[in-house]
Every structure is written in structure tokens, then in C-alpha cells.
Amino acid sequence: MLNPQLNKHGALQHLLTIDGLPREILSTILDTAAPFTEVAEREVKKLPLLRGKSVFNLFFENSTRTRTTFEIAAKRLSADVINLNISTSSASKGESLLDTVDNLCAMQADMFVVRHAMSGAPFLMAKHLADTGQEHIHVINAGDGRHAHPTQGLLDMYTIRHYKKDFTRLVVAIVGDVLHSRVARSQISALTTLGVPEVRVIGPKTLIPAAVDRLGVRVFHDMRAGLKDVDVVMMLRLQNERMKGALLPSPQEFFKYYGLTADKLACARADAIVMHPGPMNRGVEIDSAVADGRHAVILPQVTFGIAVRMAVMSMLAGS
């Protein structure tokens, strides 16, 4: 089957998921992002690549960091950015997703950045654009349900490469609520595609998806054992809002067994880096002393996220 993200020339047309993207494309995105990091240091933080283009931020779920960094990325590329607050828009009056898309296309949209609670919503949009002969309009998935959050996965890879250089010698642990995490799925796809030899997931049985080992990861329920000699610790947020039923006794108990403290981090390599996609629940999945400590690269992740999103938008617009 053709990859719906690629055009007939094999170039990136949409960014919907990291699954199925070849290593060359992931590496090209990371390589392309590198020169964009320098733009933030200029007097005029603007490049003309998306001049005259309209980027619609369609966030059907709340987000501050992701929406803001996409907005900054698009504005630094000189695009016109339109933020739709869906909770007060036509969707809440019953308009379907595809009717919303058709209306925005009639307003000459060039790119959609979409976040949706339903897994697959960005795929549906991309398919609809193809079916209606509007392949020139691009879709970027900014997080769909439990499925994928590809730009978060890519900015995490950029951060790892920045600090660790070579993916092929690393041991990486993803810790916490893997079950509800679209970030974890994108991270696992990206890490395995880029050649990381050992990816571990660490968490309680109730928050680790069944058969996750089929994705090529090692599962640990004991955090200290899972962190032994790792180079990169990728913490996940405990997603209380997605939990139905009693998966955890209490946040306090979760912190006791799976919260990242200096004591547990000492099991990792001395030069390990600690990442978190935000927003952090301090005292639940991560201790403040670690979040603000010398191993943490959590704020650089945010800064790199802008460059990675600029790279993705530029590659799509130029495809």
C-alpha cells in the first residue's frame, strides 16, 4: 500500500505518523531542523519560506505548548496563522470535521495543523483532501487520540541527537503511562527506525499496553532495573484525563514506584539525559530536583521543537 504521507515522488506530503516513514526521511527532517535553530538568535527572527501561505491551527483538544510552538514556527516562516478555537466554533454546533475542512479550504488554506481526540482524524483529513483533488493542501498531525504525535517524537529525536550524537549506541528508557500516550508510540517508532539498539518501557502493568514488546521494546515493571545503564530517560505525563476506571491506587503511590527521583536516576549512566514532553506533574512522575537538575534537557526540548516544526512545515510546503 502506498504511504499516504508521501507524494508520488516519495517526498513528504503530510506528516501524520512516524510509523512507516523511512530512516532517510527522519534523518532529513533532523538535518533540516539544525539550521533553523540559528534563526532564533537573529535580529529579525523571520524567514520567507511560507510567505503568503495560510496555516490553520485546528485544535479540537486543549493544548498550550504544542499550539504555541506551531504558531511561532509558522510565523517565523512568515505564514499567516489562523488559530481556531474549536470549543467556541461550529464543531460545537454540530459541524462535521470534513465540513469544517471544506470550509477552511474555501478560505484558501495551505496547511492544517490538527489535534484531535479521535485517533485517525488527521488521516481522514488527508484522505479527504486527496479525494477532493486538493493534494496541494498539507496536514500535520499535532496529536490524535492515543495514536501519534509525530512532531513531538521528532523533536525528542533532535534533542537526543544533539546531546548524544549517535543513535546506534544508545539505551533509551520510556517511563510511565505508556498505555495512554501517543507520544510514547511516536517515540518508539522513531527510536527503532533511527537504529537505537535497545528501547525499554517502564511502568506498572496497568499502564503498559498488552503486546507492546511486538514494537521491539523490552518491558520493565521495576524502575531501578529498567533504568540501569540507560543513556536517555524519557518521562511521560500521567494522563489522568484519559483514564477510565481505577488503573492506579493514587498519584502518591505512582510517584513512590515510578516517579523519577535523583535516587532512581542514579541507576542510569552518569551522563544520562532526562526528557519530558510536558506539561509536567511535579511530584507525580518526576521530582522537582530532577526536573530542574543538571541531567534535565526539558526546556531545550521546547526550543528545539520550534526548529523541528519549522523544518517539517518547510519540507511540506516545498514538496
Binding site: P35, T37, E43
Partner: protein, 164 residues
């Protein structure tokens, strides 16, 4: 077609630029060949201001047709552009579009005192009103050909004619 010796052209270019450089003059090379030439000029002229370099890919006017090129380089401007006399250095001047892109990029760092242009080869074929102040050599090159500057592992510069 017999091509001129690139190293000799670099030395000639340095000689023609030398009388006009100011103590604060800054050189900016355009990736990739222009940076090599600028590096030669910087050493020959003994300039104090560190060498700048630009990858103009983000400012090219053919982005919407051909997208981003692979192998992007970081632009590096290790001096304050504001009020600085600048010489843009490139290997081969053709349509002038690269120089237009470079000037746009420079202005995003500040307002320079002036901008001049030094090139190793002017091959004609201009599509924009761009005129170099110093040219080491003019050369007729057919439209179907590209003139490229190459650098050997030992660091020696040579010119090569390839199909466009």
C-alpha cells in the same frame, strides 16, 4: 574548454580587493564555494573581523518550485552587521538570484553600512541588476553547463565544468 587556475584567480581577486578594504571590513562567503574563496581572501587580506558564511537556501526565490535543497548549512554571522562594511564573496556569478537572496538574509541581521560583491568568475547571464565590484575573470559558459568550484582533500581549489 580550458578552465583557469582557481588558486591563481583567488590571489588575483585578493590583489584587486586589497586597496579598497577598510579596517572594519567583513567578508561573508556564500556556501559552499564562496566560503572557500572568502577563506582565501580573509587570510590574504589579514582582516580582523571574523569570516561570516551564509546558506541562502531559506531565501531562494525558487523554493515554491523546487523545495528545500538537501545538505543545508547553518548561516554564521560572528560579527555585528549593523553599520558594518560588508563584502559578499561568491565563486561563480550567474543570474544574480543567489546574491539577491544573500542581501535579503544579511538585512535580517541588521543594516550594514554598505555591501559590495567580489566574485572569482562572472559567467554573464544575469536576470537581476547585480554587478560585482571585483571580478577575477569573466568567462563565457553555455546555458546547459554549470561551472563548479571544487576543493581537494589537500585543500586545493579547482574549477570544473559539468552538465546543468
Amino acid at each position: 574548454m580550458l578552465l583557469p587556475d582557481a588558486e591563481r584567480l583567488c590571489a588575483a581577486l585578493a590583489d584587486s580587493v586589497r586597496p579598497d578594504v577598510h579596517p572594519d571590513t567583513a567578508l561573508i562567503g556564500i556556501h559552499t564555494g564562496g566560503v572557500w574563496v572568502a577563506d582565501r581572501l580573509h587570510a590574504a587580506l589579514g582582516l580582523k573581523t571574523p569570516l561570516g558564511s551564509l546558506d541562502v537556501s531559506f531565501y531562494r526565490d525558487d523554493f515554491s518550485r523546487s523545495g528545500l535543497h538537501a545538505q543545508l548549512k547553518k548561516s554564521d554571522m560572528p560579527f555585528a552587521v549593523e553599520d558594518c562594511p560588508i563584502i559578499i564573496v561568491d565563486d561563480v556569478l550567474y543570474t544574480g538570484r543567489t546574491i539577491r537572496a544573500a542581501m535579503n538574509e544579511i538585512f535580517d541581521y541588521g543594516r550594514p553600512a554598505r555591501i559590495d560583491l567580489a566574485v572569482l568568475i562572472d559567467r554573464g547571464g544575469r536576470e537581476l541588476p547585480v554587478c560585482p565590484r571585483w571580478t577575477a575573470q569573466t568567462l563565457e559558459v553555455g546555458a546547459g553547463k554549470n561551472l563548479q568550484l571544487e576543493r581537494s582533500e589537500a585543500g586545493v581549489l579547482t574549477l570544473r565544468l559539468v552538465d546543468a
